[in-house]
């Protein structure tokens, strides 16, 4: 309530950047005036994101189960999985609009935004199961399938719901970003694009708020379902057995090397297959070889490489810094959710706003406030990485069962000590999972900011190439950013494995 009043005063007074932040009454008035336009746009966005959400999640959960049943499949598909997640929607949007028609680009982008999160959550949920219950099933001769059916799937539901919670705003964001690629009369993204030139912050904020509301509603629905269900799923005593890694080194070196090859090449194969399937001409759709040729075999290659390296040098440091900052912020906040649960409840709406407000609307506003320097990029990166990490961590900390909490308290430990000794270590697997989740988003956030505001780095390179119709560079940048994400992802994974095994915890994936 106080927040709203402060907002109103600050806005009316034009205290922030000469009117970039209007008072809430001004926004609402603008909303009312525009009310005839909204239903059509809202309808289109909701339809696209809803359908994408459905399709993406069904695929994600099925994939998650398949990956648990076959660790080899998981390994093979890892490259594809992270590639899907790391695809900057910015680069993909125009490509999708050119290769697919109608609502398909938006549904696709929404589904893509959802897939990795839910799939990841499903895999985490299925991995972190109570081994004692599994022992019980085994003691009656039950095999892996029965353990999956009776123990793991039901046990994974809180994690899957947590994934759905995070995925919901992603679907909205994906659908809106796809609208930026062009095409389509209706949709909040299209509406936004049309309004950007008018210099009317009140309307921009109005659109942003409506988008946030939609995302927030979907988040709330799953949050309610989640609370209802997780009451019965929390284990009643903490499991301390070290689970054996499933068939980790079942294969000899040669086969492992083969699998690794498969992992790396599969995304490229699918890339090539997609182009062939959609039948888009060579000029627009570059195959992996086309990109390679562009970078190394042509006369202009030296220039191309030069541009690329310069852009990388600008993008990488900021992305890294923003990611670490976002994670730290999420971690601190997740801890406070235990200590100050009321504070968190008040904070989540704010977090949702920073998360869901289409970055493309937020960016010009932030630019007005902060200028075109690195701070804009940083803030956008932080806000982009923060939310999913936050939800995942809170879930992890909430999973600590009551009896384990009681123990330090029975020795007079303060809430903070209990956190330090039990909750934080127990949340460690989730912290690693959150880090892995965050890597591509940080890169994405930076690129969006660069594209719209700062005029430096990979994002800017991408934008300029669209203007020059340099399709080769567009595909190149997309490929490079994906490869980058993958490399950093694997780095995090290695650190995670080493640390968790040393601590005797279950390795996720």
């Amino acid at each position: 309530m106080i927040l709203i009043i402060v907002w109103e005063i600050v806005g009316r007074m034009d205290w922030i950047a000469g009117g970039a932040l209007p008072g809430i009454s001004e926004i609402l008035i603008r909303l009312w005036i525009d009310r005839g336009d909204y239903p059509g746009h809202i309808g289109a966005t909701v339809y696209a994101s809803g359908l994408g959400f459905l399709i993406g999640n069904v695929l994600a959960i099925a994939a998650g189960i398949a990956f648990i049943l076959s660790p080899t499949l998981l390994r093979l598909m890892r490259g594809v999985n992270i590639a899907i997640f790391a695809l900057p929607p910015i680069a993909i949007a125009p490509i999708l609009v050119l290769t697919l028609s109608g609502m398909a680009p938006r549904v696709t982008l929404a589904a893509l935004g959802v897939y990795f999160v839910t799939m990841s959550a499903t895999v985490i949920g299925l991995s972190q199961y109570d081994t004692r219950s599994a022992d019980l099933v085994r003691a009656y001769g039950g095999g892996n399938w029965l353990i999956l059916k009776l123990v793991r799937i039901r046990g994974a539901i809180p994690d899957i719901l947590s994934g759905l919670r995070i995925a919901a705003p992603n679907a909205v964001l994906g659908a809106i970003l796809a609208e930026f690629g062009g095409g389509g009369r209706w949709g909040l993204g299209t509406y936004l694009l049309g309004s950007l030139g008018r210099g009317d912050p009140a309307r921009l904020w109005g659109i942003g708020l409506v988008a946030t509301l939609i995302a927030g509603l979907s988040y709330a629905i799953f949050a309610v379902i989640s609370t209802r269900i997780s009451g019965s799923t929390r284990s009643v005593t903490l499991n301390t057995a070290i689970p054996s890694s499933q068939g980790e080194n079942a294969y000899g070196r040669p086969i492992q090397a083969l699998i690794l090859c498969g992992t790396i090449t599969l995304p490229f194969v699918l890339w090539w297959a997609f182009i062939k399937l959609t039948g888009v001409p060579d000029l627009i759709a570059k195959t992996p070889y086309g990109v390679f040729e562009y970078l190394f075999l042509k006369d202009t290659s030296v220039i191309a490489r030069g541009k690329l390296m310069a852009a990388l040098g600008q993008t990488l440091p900021i992305a890294a810094f923003g990611m670490i900052a976002g994670l730290a912020f999420a971690f601190l906040l997740a801890i406070s959710s235990r200590l100050f649960p009321g504070f968190i409840k008040g904070f989540i709406p704010v977090a949702l706003v920073t998360q869901t407000m289409p970055l493309v609307a937020l960016t010009p506003l932030l630019v007005l406030i902060l200028g075109r320097g690195y701070s804009v990029t940083l803030w956008i990166t932080i806000s982009v990485t923060f939310f999913p990490a936050f939800v995942l961590l809170v879930q992890g900390i909430q999973r600590v069962p009551q009896s384990v909490l009681d123990l330090p308290r029975a020795y007079g430990a303060s809430a903070w000590t209990e956190m330090r000794i039990v909750s934080i270590p127990a949340a460690l697997p989730y912290l690693f999972a959150a880090t892995r989740l965050t890597v591509p988003r940080a890169l994405l956030g930076v690129m969006i900011a660069e594209w719209l505001a700062t005029g430096t780095g990979l994002g800017n390179l991408l934008n300029r190439s669209r203007g020059y119709l340099d399709y080769s560079m567009i595909w190149t940048v997309a490929a490079v950013s994906v490869l980058l994400s993958v490399a950093i992802y694997y780095l995090v994974l290695i650190v995670e494995r080493r640390t968790l095994v040393r601590l005797g915890m279950q390795n996720v994936e």
Binding site: S133, D135, A139, Y140, G141, G142, S232, S235
Partner: protein
């Protein structure tokens, strides 16, 4: 020399854990013979391998040397054929299932239809003193109550071989004595071979035909003491001087270096 197929048979079983730079010999040359229909108690300090021995017998752990036969079959065969029943030290109930559904779990694992067993399930729940709690969730029960559900669950398949790992640990003394008497009654009706891992010497003597004492480092059997008391055993036995003498004797074996 022909050997009668023992209910539970461990011969020269060895098991070593290797992990995180340390080697632990959990079982060394372990021999255990439980004739069909007998009741054996395994007793020993923490780390002596008694739980490991039980897990090996259930096929939950592999073993490095020796032979394990349950009713003449390998552990894997025995568990799959549904002749085993188990109650773990930790109740390990599925948190999202009601008491009745938890008791029914072994049936589902074995591919049997739980609805055909509703009478047995109700009877077992009443037997362990949880009548009225059929639809309660584990989160709503105390530790002792959860353990009782675990015991009911171990009996639902009418097992020929029953494994119990300190199932009464969480119960109070009064309830524990009651459960000991009940367990003896149930067991004598089912005529199953029972192996009980326990800390309680009096419980071991009251229930078992033979008490196997183990020591740690490495896990090994140091003595097997026969219990001479006739069955059925009455709760009065707990006050019997001969009972106390046997308790002292086992205590000495347990504590000698």
């Amino acid at each position: 020399m022909p050997r009668q197929p023992a209910g539970i048979s461990l011969r020269a079983v060895g098991k070593t854990y290797r992990g995180r730079g340390k080697t632990v010999e959990a079982l060394k040359d372990m021999n255990l013979e439980c004739s069909p229909g007998s009741f054996t108690a395994l007793i020993g300090p923490s780390g002596c391998g008694k739980s490991t021995a039980m897990r090996v017998a259930l096929g939950l752990e592999s073993f490095d040397s020796g032979e394990v036969l349950i009713s003449g079959q390998t552990p894997a065969q025995a568990t799959a054929s549904g002749i085993t029943g188990v109650a773990f030290q930790d109740a390990a109930l599925l948190p999202w299932r009601s008491v009745a559904k938890n008791v029914a779990l072994p049936l589902e694992v074995l591919g049997r239809d739980p609805s055909k067993y509703s009478v047995e399930i109700a009877q077992l729940i009443e037997l362990v003193g949880l009548k009225g709690y059929e639809n309660a969730l584990p989160g709503e029960l105390s530790g002792g109550m959860r353990q009782r559900v675990s015991i009911a669950r171990s009996l639902i398949t009418s097992p020929k071989v029953l494994f119990m790992d300190e199932p009464f640990g969480a119960l109070d003394q009064i309830r524990r004595r009651q459960m000991n008497v009940e367990l003896q009654r149930i067991w004598s009706e089912t005529k199953s071979t029972a192996l009980l891992v326990t800390h309680g010497i009096d419980e071991a003597i009251f229930l078992a035909d033979q008490v196997v004492v183990m020591h740690a480092d490495p896990g090994r059997v140091v003595d097997i003491i026969d219990v001479p008391f006739a069955r059925p055993r009455h709760p009065d036995l707990f006050s019997n001087p001969e009972f106390h003498a046997l308790t002292d004797r086992i205590s000495m074996v347990l504590h000698e270096a």
